[in-house]
Symmetry: D2
Subunit: 393 residues, 4 copies
Amino acid sequence: MLGSGFIARFYADTLHAQRRKDQIISVYSRDAANARRFAEDYRLARHDTDMEKTIAAENIDAVIIALPNHLHEEAVLACARLGKAVLCTKPLGRNAAEAKRMLEAVEQAGIFAGYLEDLCYTPKFLKSLSSVKAGALGRVLWTKSREAHPGPHSDWFWDKALSGGGAIIDLGCHCVEIGRNFIGKSVRPVEVMCWADTQVHPIEAEDHAIGLVRYENGAIGQFEVSWTFRGGMDLRDEVMGTEGTIWLNSFLRTGFDMFTTGKGAEYVAEKAESATGWLFPVGDEAHELGYPHMFSDMFDAIEEGRPPMETFYDGYVVNAILDAAFLSAKSKNWEKVILEDWRGDRQTSHEKSHISYNEQYYLIKKEILPNGDEKLILKEKTTGKVVQETKRK
Amino acid sequence: MLGSGFIARFYADTLHAQRRKDQIISVYSRDAANARRFAEDYRLARHDTDMEKTIAAENIDAVIIALPNHLHEEAVLACARLGKAVLCTKPLGRNAAEAKRMLEAVEQAGIFAGYLEDLCYTPKFLKSLSSVKAGALGRVLWTKSREAHPGPHSDWFWDKALSGGGAIIDLGCHCVEIGRNFIGKSVRPVEVMCWADTQVHPIEAEDHAIGLVRYENGAIGQFEVSWTFRGGMDLRDEVMGTEGTIWLNSFLRTGFDMFTTGKGAEYVAEKAESATGWLFPVGDEAHELGYPHMFSDMFDAIEEGRPPMETFYDGYVVNAILDAAFLSAKSKNWEKVILEDWRGDRQTSHEKSHISYNEQYYLIKKEILPNGDEKLILKEKTTGKVVQETKRK
Amino acid sequence: MLGSGFIARFYADTLHAQRRKDQIISVYSRDAANARRFAEDYRLARHDTDMEKTIAAENIDAVIIALPNHLHEEAVLACARLGKAVLCTKPLGRNAAEAKRMLEAVEQAGIFAGYLEDLCYTPKFLKSLSSVKAGALGRVLWTKSREAHPGPHSDWFWDKALSGGGAIIDLGCHCVEIGRNFIGKSVRPVEVMCWADTQVHPIEAEDHAIGLVRYENGAIGQFEVSWTFRGGMDLRDEVMGTEGTIWLNSFLRTGFDMFTTGKGAEYVAEKAESATGWLFPVGDEAHELGYPHMFSDMFDAIEEGRPPMETFYDGYVVNAILDAAFLSAKSKNWEKVILEDWRGDRQTSHEKSHISYNEQYYLIKKEILPNGDEKLILKEKTTGKVVQETKRK
Amino acid sequence: MLGSGFIARFYADTLHAQRRKDQIISVYSRDAANARRFAEDYRLARHDTDMEKTIAAENIDAVIIALPNHLHEEAVLACARLGKAVLCTKPLGRNAAEAKRMLEAVEQAGIFAGYLEDLCYTPKFLKSLSSVKAGALGRVLWTKSREAHPGPHSDWFWDKALSGGGAIIDLGCHCVEIGRNFIGKSVRPVEVMCWADTQVHPIEAEDHAIGLVRYENGAIGQFEVSWTFRGGMDLRDEVMGTEGTIWLNSFLRTGFDMFTTGKGAEYVAEKAESATGWLFPVGDEAHELGYPHMFSDMFDAIEEGRPPMETFYDGYVVNAILDAAFLSAKSKNWEKVILEDWRGDRQTSHEKSHISYNEQYYLIKKEILPNGDEKLILKEKTTGKVVQETKRK
């Protein structure tokens, strides 16, 4: 385990729960005290402030990178050099160039490399994705992924040079990859339009942004990210298809409602912004956020010699899309997604098929009105003229 | 009542319910059969195919325009000419130029003119707005208004020349005005970014669009409109402020859930896309959509000699914003909102105030971590450097 | 208007809203100051402390009784004597004997008499009832109606002698009549089992009770009432039928969620137990509670010479059921509902029909298992033996 | 693994997921083909139709009983005889006498014995319980646990002699133990009132029941169970305390909503009663139902030499409560819970403490009315008289 902060603890809590067989052996931190404390808390045999030594140790099969964004590349390159399987937290890089170097390093070294994109492993997401792939929603037209809360946990997040950006890089990486999965990873992301602003916090980076990613088949992947939200952590996704709709709420409304006057107790609800009144805890936070399913896929993939569901290549594509988002926020134009290394479909057509009503007309809509009348909206095939027919009940 | 279609019936149902004292006297329709049927259904004394005659009749105090978009101007000008109070359905015009002519006509004629923007009168909206104005959410940063369903009820909606556009003009007018109310009507809308596409239907106009309206104070009013949604009518609004959040759901999740196998009955749920399985009816549709409160405000305003909450000027501003949206969908740039007649505040600053932690630092965030530690994220006032302090529990 | 307290104000607010034509003329209160304040607040021409005089006034067509429970009988008898239409708030009497005397008085006087059971007029209830009557749920098996909050608004509620009981008489009257409507007013309520206790408040009457009303056709009408609930006002109903299910939430979860830190404002949410954190206001409280539809039905019924949907006879049946509930809470047995005056069906059979699978078997259940197998659970018609058949996918 | 049916498969799916270290070695079934199929599906080394031999095998550390209710005792006695740790599915026995014999057998044998009550291990339940124990709800007054669906999966469930009853024994065992946990396992259950009926299915046993369990401290544990529910699987719990409220929904409303026209696909949603329209899947069914946390607690307990959270003694208490419920459904009286072996508190008082307002009065309620007035409801300490004070705003 490289890193001993908030996310490293979440990972460790997950791996140490539910009688899992995979064990954390040692921890590296730049800060000796933090390394020692982490090792104590999780009863690890070793802790160190020397990253290379930690990675190189003999009984280490895989390395988990839970470091700040600006240290990912260094750590990945070390793993590649030392030939150790590597799992890197999100975002992969601060930008596509960094991500591409990491991707190339692990591919040249021939090591296993997994991208720890937990929100693409939540149980709700996995089941949704399987429904979408089974065709339950028809052709996907639009996805929206939203992550908003009052701001991240560590100083480096708030420093653009170290993190690579604000809410876009921190939260947008999740949202973009969720949309990409629903729309199809083989469909090329073409261009991005993004608004971003620093509305509340005394920082340089954006604390609120909305973006639209347009894919080659005409589908839109929308992201909404914010460090200015009040009320807890808002994690919601939506998918619209020609034959259906999915709405997911992964945190604030999951079937767990609690009201407390706060009189009886020193009780404080996790991640909530208030400790009294109506609160909305989640049952098992790590599970709801996808950590257990993510690590199961990763270690199963290592054992089975297959790539995981989320790879370094995915991380690279996400960074490329976010690069375009940052550019667009400045230029105020739609910006092309630059993917020097595109491995998906060459060309995806904007597939549309219209429903023929009879020889003369296409059917636009058929509807029963409140007064019982049936109404048909039709379009003449040759002239394009729209007409309606009403049949009285 | 000018018009005898879907919306005219909704208005008439509202006015004839709940023992209201305001009476519909006569109906005008271009089609004699429709006029007669409407008059029969609502037991009106008169029906006609001559608009001017209908308006001019002596016992008519106010005229309700429930006509297709391309006929609004003609009807409004007739009311102005004949000196009758006029209530016009949404959108006011097909574009800002048309709206401006209507606005000027009623102001020159000195007649009462109300803009029938029902979704700014739903009980949930009215109570939300009063909370926002009372400061419950602090400074408003972002609003989102979403209206999506499988498409409108009449042929002319689907013909761009008659309607002025597709989902943007039909649904976006609601969403834009909802956002404008929350952000403040006196705050100038500056520019619009909009994506629009015809993803499903065999029409020229857009059947899906997403737009961002940026206001002078930095707030964003987002709209999401679609004629391609599956699952019923999706009507949701959100507001984010520095001190709070509002989520409104006006149709599909209002505390009314019904499951039916469909075996026992010929029962068909209104506006639902299915008649079996889980259904989500609303209790009183007109009420949930704001019609009763809208007409109460309009007629009260006439009696009290005050402007209604939604005026022709509001309709004009909405059209100007939508004009920019249409332009942006084509140009793929942010487009300025052109308001030749701006009556709000001259300049609104991007007000931000940072919280001083002590002489040296601003406070970015204070947080209790899962392990009980307290963490402070601070920014040095002089250098801008971000640091963190952790106090062990 | 007889009475000037909490419920009288709710009624007056309803009648004075939405441009209704029915006018309140005068108010009676036992307390002169309260009468004057009420008259001022609602701009009434007259106020008085003489009940008889108030009722007898010439321009009064109908009398609304919004008095404490122990004064209903006196007021109803006065209306009967003076021949004025009377609308009486719930519960009709403190017990069935009192209710029966009121019922007989109005019937002998031949006056219109309406029972102001508002929760049987909420928009959600009305639409549900129409679905149930249309057969969408098949045969109704069970209903549950729940009303719970931290306790009522006036002193007399808390005094058993004046009110006739605690939460059972105050809230149970709603719940029982909701269940009775869904199950069918013509189906005889046979017996009641009820638990009641004084769990929290320093009072004699029960502050929490659960009851089951068994109807002749085997259906159960469950009520859950409490003055000890924390979190606001909990108003929920459920209906289970052989072909479907209905869930209604009329107050705390109606599609209106608000979070506020409470910093910016002196804002206080109505009826909520807290003014900060997550709050759940309702859009239009009177509407959600059924008042507008209730008064429309009442006055329409007067004009149309028909009985209203909720009559004094209904009020009497409710009181008879509650009498049995009180008895059961003491005796700890099921207690018969004593209805000397039963106007519904003489006998309703416990109708059940079993599905024949083939000549040999009834079908109990058919199911697809997670592994794809189809499983049939069958019952042999002659022997009653239960067997299963599994067909592998 | 003893048993190869529906629940055995659920257990095996759980144990084989998420890289758990505990392994299933062999399976016993009365039916050789079923045993073989199960062993194949889960890649087990051995399968057998000899129960004793299966239990006795050397490399077996613990035995999981996933057999029909009438075979639990035989299997438990075999484990006791052979000295193997035993985990038995719910309900422990068909009645308290059977459960007591099993309890005594395992205690005399000195073996580990765990009661597989999965719904007391759902993540939502575990977090709720910890909040309740931390005092967030004050004194618990009432709990409600509800489980309802269209009926169970195997023939023996529907045969009273084999199962011990219908919905009460099948589902009530969950609900009773959930309530007992919230109220406190050391508080004695005193008596039970239960209604039960066979409303729909062609069976002898009850397919619908409602029961109230009264505990010595006055708290009520309500259960609602049904095999007649339409709409899927309804799993909801509620807790009311003097300082708060909890509402849990574990299946049909967990933040996962999907609409599908069903056109595109052969997709069938699990456990749903319909495959089109609005569907409400759960992300990870086993997790939502508590299986992973249950097995983790069981195996951790074995390793740590401590009892699990749910023991055979708990199973015995549940059976004793259900015995009283069955008796009450027949006798139509409250029936005592007979616990020959009671290990909890000897006596729990009905603790109530009233809030003193001043020397003269207790405070019943303090409230802000809609018109801004503050109202106090007080009770005179000496006379018990209830009075109110209103302070105008």
